[in-house]
Symmetry: C2
Subunit: 304 residues, 2 copies
């Protein structure tokens, strides 16, 4: 591991710890007014689903994209936590027996295994709903215009034209394989949309004009594609011990991936191409953009 990569992973971990602490505080405060009856098991399941380790890559991107424009750090942390609630909801629902039917996530029982299906459905619903509560909250120090833009972009990134729609297409893809263009669109929706939002959110939080929002949005789209190519490559080339989860899952399910269609050599050169493209987009920002470039590098070349 290069020195720079090592420093990046330390920075990522340090930010993850800050995000986890804030997420725990936010989830504890999620019942207002306090005299309401507490659905204790639901709150516990939401904690369990949201606070299970994880790299916290999406909040990291929100925070670094905000810092690029010297935006409000506290707002970036809050919006990062909102995004992580939303990401966590998607994992909880995707793991359900009716969906991907996974018993383990990061080596621990998934929410529906630890509790039951009803609790997992409601915990996901609660996390999704809470994401919008956090953004709109008076405790998130942002002008109303920025909050409205964040709610709009997040709901679109998460909704039918984004993550939820992508998951539906992904379930359908197990029965009828999409072509190359279909795979690219499906992945842009299922995993790309939230990464795109994470980057664009920084420009929104910092109140930047449309040009910067657009640039960060495109940067997010490109690292979203890199994320998916890297994921597919790891599924083929890594082993379960390194990856911390089963490998060869795509092939076993007969799921078409770009890497499966075009090969691992293509994948490695595609990652190089995407990283260059991502870096070029950030060129106008000079050295300030270094942390985001390192994030792009990490996403493309991570070993797990």
């Amino acid at each position: 591991m290069t020195k720079s990569a090592d420093a990046f992973e330390k920075s990522l971990s340090a930010h993850a710890a800050i995000v986890e602490a804030r997420l725990a505080t936010l989830l504890d405060a999620s019942i207002r007014p306090a005299e309401l009856a507490r659905p204790a098991q639901l709150i516990e399941a939401m904690h369990y689903g949201a606070l299970n380790g994880g790299k916290r890559l999406r909040p990291y991107l929100v925070m670094q994209a905000t810092q690029l424009f010297a935006g409000n750090e506290e707002a970036a942390l809050q919006v990062g936590c909102a995004l992580e609630c939303l990401h966590s909801y998607s994992l909880v629902h995707d793991d359900l027996p009716a969906m991907d039917d996974d018993d383990l996530r990061r080596g621990q029982p998934t929410v529906h295994k630890k509790y039951d299906d009803a609790t997992a459905i409601l915990a996901g619903d609660g996390l999704l709903t809470y994401a919008f509560d956090i953004i709109a909250s008076p405790e998130t120090p942002l002008p109303d215009a920025a909050k409205v833009a964040l709610v709009l972009e997040l709901s679109r990134a998460a909704g039918i034209g984004g993550m939820a729609g992508g998951q539906m297409l992904d379930l359908a893809a197990e029965k009828q394989q999409p072509d190359e263009r279909g795979i690219v669109l499906l992945q842009a929706m299922k995993t790309g949309a939230l990464l795109r939002f994470a980057c664009e959110a920084g420009a929104i939080i910092a109140g930047r004009p449309a040009e910067d929002r657009d640039r960060l949005r495109r940067f997010g789209e490109i690292i979203g594609r890199a994320f998916q190519v890297a994921d597919d490559l790891l599924d083929i080339t890594s082993d379960a011990a390194t990856l911390g989860k089963a490998t060869g899952k795509d092939a076993a399910k007969g799921k078409a991936t770009l890497v499966g269609l075009k090969g691992t050599d293509w994948a490695r050169s595609e990652l190089d191409r995407l990283v260059s493209e991502a870096n070029a987009l950030l060129a106008p920002y000079g050295a300030e953009a270094e942390p985001l470039k390192e994030a792009a590098h990490f996403i493309a070349y991570r070993k797990k």
Copy 2:
């Protein structure tokens, strides 16, 4: 049926038709940009789950509460549709086998029977997410401050301290019966919170000060309680043919209700008391409040 009650039901139906038409338009436009892959089955399931008849009582309350303060009618219709998406999501998820396990809703197969569990989970997720998209949308003509207030109140009404938390407590109540206070809190969360939001939303849309927001909020809470008492009473006293759904369900499930605990005489006098209290709250608004008073009367004394 009195003349006035007949006129009220005509007004409710007329508004419901307007809401259904707008909901259909909004759901058709829910994929942006249009060149994205369309998860056709998901969009179809969302239509199916949201456009299945229904009284559209919540949007009606939003529209009438807005009109009380001469607020923007177009905004009220949009917010009413957002609220109906959210209400529909809760029905789709509550009907799932892991939750209340219902095969029929209004005489039609529920979403998971018509499609499958995965599609129903995602259709619910999509409807919930889309509610926030509609509120934040540039097509909803409201100042940003009003949109932020609506997102905050709706996410709290729908979340762990509201509907989702109430559903969790309700599932737990089948195993361990709550006491009277527990039942009141559970119902205020599960069904009351969205009705409260519907009424308060009118004051927010019209940009009214805290005093009016508070008054409408309390009005919403009271008609929420009346709604639940009337529901429990109908479950005991009505027959399936009139109600359009099975009766005696609460008793069959061993579910504790206030009416079960305190009797039908108590329920009838409680409804009178709640209607008086609701009317008294609206007294300062004079004749302008007549439609909301009629709504309270309808909610308390409806036959189905």
